[in-house]
């Protein structure tokens, strides 16, 4: 199993930390992982993206141009990465702020209204975990007990009291994701 994922959105949406939690969870399950953020001027431009690869084998390139899954959280990222999903792959987007829907016919498309739901419930801080939950519902590449360990590893100890809230958000996301186009 090798899953190549790009997660992209605005800085502050928790894109990098979502990737980190997924990567650490993979490590906890003794998988090979690679987490490669965009850095430098493109990061400073307000958008953030991170490539996460989780695999049972040695990982080749940390830099890739075709993804099994793209998780996009704003219009710019949708425009940029829709075309990079492998045929038959998966695109997940949050409809908040999306004016131009995805158009490809050869990929699976799901949406998750995480921004809206998180605001409604007053849990904007764990918005990214809602999205992660949606992804894990479709592709359970790491077991939930390892997600727990991944959270422990990537959150500083003073925030460990927030782990249950994060896990609830993941569960919430699993119920929130809806199919737009399934091949």
């Amino acid at each position: 199993m090798t899953e190549e994922i790009i997660i992209a959105g605005f800085g502050g949406q928790g894109v990098l930390s979502m990737g980190k939690i997924l990567a650490y969870s993979g490590v906890m399950e003794d998988k090979e992982v690679c987490w490669m953020p965009s850095y430098g001027p493109e990061q400073r431009g307000g958008t953030a993206n991170v490539t996460v690869i989780v695999s049972d084998e040695r990982i080749c390139s940390p830099i890739i141009s075709k993804y099994d899954t793209a998780i996009v959280l704003n219009q710019q990222s949708l425009d940029k990465f829709e075309k990079s999903v492998k045929p038959g792959g998966l695109l997940i987007y949050d409809p908040n702020g999306i004016t131009k829907e995805p158009t490809r016919k050869d990929i699976n498309i799901y949406k998750i209204a995480a921004t809206e739901k998180a605001q409604e419930m007053g849990i904007s801080k764990v918005f990214n975990m809602v999205v992660l939950g949606g992804f894990l519902k479709l592709k359970p590449i790491v077991g939930s007990e390892f997600i727990h360990k991944g959270l422990e590893k990537s959150l500083p100890e003073r925030h460990h009291n927030l782990i249950p809230q994060n896990e609830e958000a993941i569960e919430l996301g699993k119920g929130l994701i809806e199919a737009v186009q399934v091949l």
């Binding site: 953020p37 850095y39 080749c60 940390p62 890739i64």
Partner: protein, 353 residues
């Protein structure tokens, strides 16, 4: 952990005595990690931000002249500034470890990953007939492990070791197994490992003098011959490389560091198409795996050198292969990383045809 973090943690764990550096993207996390870890409170390792790269490399020179394990790190423009210090250190036969996280040049260039400092690292940089022992890690694990190996080599040869990497390996986070902490050398151990060092003159011997100056040219020639002998020994005993899928390969990629990781993916794509493609990854750039390239050149139909530069390592590959087969270069530069797909396309267009 991140590649840069791995370098810093490995420095602490390998019993490094001191780090002198000056921040520069994309490797500032090295000093950040060291400052956060505060090894001066645990192992006694000194971590100091110098006022410039010139100051850091000369602090390394001074510290290392006492036989201590002293290291620094920087990125391309900073390494250019350090080149004067490096040739003095090589000329004075002082062991030390330097890390270069290459970024796109020339000049200040960009801050994204590049591999355009191959010439600088392996063919000079500073003046004079000197060589650095150059290691090119291709993963976070190797970033960590190579610091330990670098100390062994540096003291074996009394020669500076350069860990040549780039922003991609420095910034990416991968699984990394750490090692048990090797205690810093005691005063007694240091004297054993570095009998040449300036650590105080006992009555039983003459002064130890650390210098790269020799006004008598006949003596300087003898000294140069000694250096050349040392470099020849490196070529004999300490070449490192990795070969993947080369046994049945018709074509091979030659690439190091980040490029080799991309080529691994290109190789996978090629094999899926039924093309027999392998990868030769030089781990040491000096000494270069010349024999291995020459051997492969007898078996395969062509080689593609993939570098994030305009083509630098290809010169060593061509020299090694001695015109037996077609060898071409493919590279992106200025901070652009090629995709596995375009690398495969280049192999098909330039070599397979």
């Amino acid at each position: 952990m991140k590649g840069n973090e791995a370098i810093a943690r490995a420095m602490i764990a390998s019993g490094t005595d001191g780090y002198f550096g000056y921040p520069i993207t994309p490797q500032s996390e090295v000093m950040e990690t060291l400052m956060a870890e505060k090894p001066w409170e645990t192992t006694g390792m000194v971590v100091l931000q110098a006022e410039s790269e010139l100051a850091s490399i000369n602090m390394v020179y001074g510290g290392a002249a006492t036989g201590k394990k002293v290291a620094t790190s920087s990125s391309s423009p900073g390494i250019s500034l350090m080149c004067e210090g490096l040739t003095y250190i090589a000329g004075a036969e002082i062991p030390c470890v330097v890390m270069n996280a290459m970024r796109g040049g020339p000049g200040l260039g960009t801050i994204q990953p590049a591999q355009s400092d191959y010439f600088q690292s392996t063919k000079g940089g500073g003046h004079g007939d000197y060589q650095l022992y150059v290691m090119a890690p291709a993963s976070v694990q190797e970033m960590y492990d190579f610091v330990f190996d670098a100390w062994d080599i540096a003291f074996k040869y009394r020669n500076p070791v350069l860990i040549l990497t780039d922003g991609a390996i420095g910034q990416c986070m991968e699984k990394c197994y750490t090692r048990d902490y090797i205690p810093r050398w005691t005063e007694e151990e240091r004297r054993q490992h570095a009998p040449w060092g300036c650590w105080g003159k006992p009555a039983t011997r003459d002064h130890n003098i650390i210098t790269s100056l020799e006004l008598e040219s006949s003596r300087q020639e003898v000294f140069n011959q000694k250096l050349q002998k040392k470099y020849a020994q490196m070529k004999e005993e300490d070449v490192r490389y990795e070969m993947l899928n080369c046994e049945d390969a018709d074509y091979v990629f030659v690439a190091y560091g980040t490029s080799s990781r991309i080529c691994m993916k290109s190789m996978e794509l090629a094999r899926a198409k039924g093309l027999k493609v392998g990868l030769l990854r030089p781990i040491t750039l000096f000494p270069f795996p010349t024999k291995q390239v020459a051997e492969l050149a007898k078996k395969v139909k062509g080689m593609l050198c993939v570098e994030m530069s305009a083509g630098q390592m290809i010169e060593d590959v061509k020299l090694a292969a001695n015109c037996q087969i077609p060898i071409e270069h493919y590279g992106r530069f200025g901070g652009i990383i090629p995709t596995p797909e375009e690398v495969l396309e280049a192999l098909e267009e330039k070599i397979i045809k």
